[in-house]
């Protein structure tokens, strides 16, 4: 049962990722990314990370993707020009991708992590639920938690400064 769910979610995640890269229209790319994010949430649930899965669906597939869709609708998804500034880019990029995958595989295989071949230790039912994560965030990782909230605030102000209409431009 678990294996079947894993393979369905893995196929969904991979298909979504390939869709993001292959779709001509940026709007369809965003929709493919939503499929990818939902499949990843299922994978997180399989790894007993309930809170991360919920945050993935609510924050990513909900809020961030709505932002993307607004910007794609505002800017308009024009197709890319066929002009290739680097000759053979369409051929070279997948080759480099294959090389990167082989490199990552070698790194994982030679890492000598013996626990990689197991499904991990048995964990108690509360593993990864909101209470446990919240306790960690507010006790052990309080300073990173506050720093990330300041980072979010700075990003929001930066986006307003970048994209906001200036007064003299409007006049």
């Amino acid at each position: 049962m678990e294996a079947v769910l894993f393979f369905f979610a893995a196929i969904g995640a991979l298909a979504g990722a390939i869709g993001v890269v292959a779709m001509r229209n940026p709007f369809y790319s965003v929709l493919a990314l939503i499929v990818h994010l939902f499949s990843l949430a299922v994978l997180f649930l399989l790894l007993t990370a309930a809170f991360v899965a919920a945050a993935q669906v609510v924050v990513y597939a909900g809020a961030v993707m709505v932002l993307y869709i607004f910007v794609v609708a505002y800017v308009g998804g024009g197709g890319e020009s066929a002009w290739e500034p680097i000759p053979g880019q369409r051929l070279l990029a997948p080759l480099l991708g294959i090389a990167l995958f082989i490199e990552l595989s070698i790194a994982v295989l030679s890492s000598a992590l013996l626990a990689l071949g197991t499904h991990g230790p048995d964990v108690e039912p509360g593993f990864g639920d909101p209470a446990a994560i919240g306790k960690l965030l507010l006790e052990k990782f309080l300073i990173p938690f506050e720093a990330s909230s300041i980072l979010l605030l700075i990003a929001a102000i930066g986006a307003i400064v970048l994209a906001g209409r200036k007064r003299e431009e409007a006049a």
Binding site: A10, A17, L33, A49, V71, S81, P94, G128, G158
Partner: protein
């Protein structure tokens, strides 16, 4: 399910995102491919946290989500600013900073 399956899937997703960044020229799609790579990293973090039986990897994954959200907000703000100034939305035509 063994943890190595999740790690292999994460490597595949990361590679797909990297190929997308190399192939595509629309900054919007490049941002989407960056999301793919960050999410692949997240999957690896959560998988390793399950392998060790420690929840701290999941906290890392949540911080990565926050950073990804910041990156999206600033990137989309830049794209909107480009559009307002009637500049081309294509990373190959924006070569003003090229040495």
């Amino acid at each position: 399910m063994n943890v190595e399956w999740f790690i292999v899937l994460s490597a595949l997703l990361f590679t797909t995102g990297a190929v997308g960044i190399l192939l595509r020229r629309s900054p919007m799609v490049i941002l989407l491919c960056l999301e793919l790579m960050l999410n692949a990293g997240n999957l690896a973090l959560v998988a390793f946290s399950r392998m060790v039986g420690n929840q701290e990897g999941q906290v890392f994954a949540i911080v990565v989500m926050v950073v990804a959200a910041c990156e999206v907000v600033v990137g989309l703000g830049l794209i909107v600013a480009l559009y307002r100034r009637k500049l081309p939305i294509d990373v190959d035509e924006l070569r003003g900073l090229r040495g």
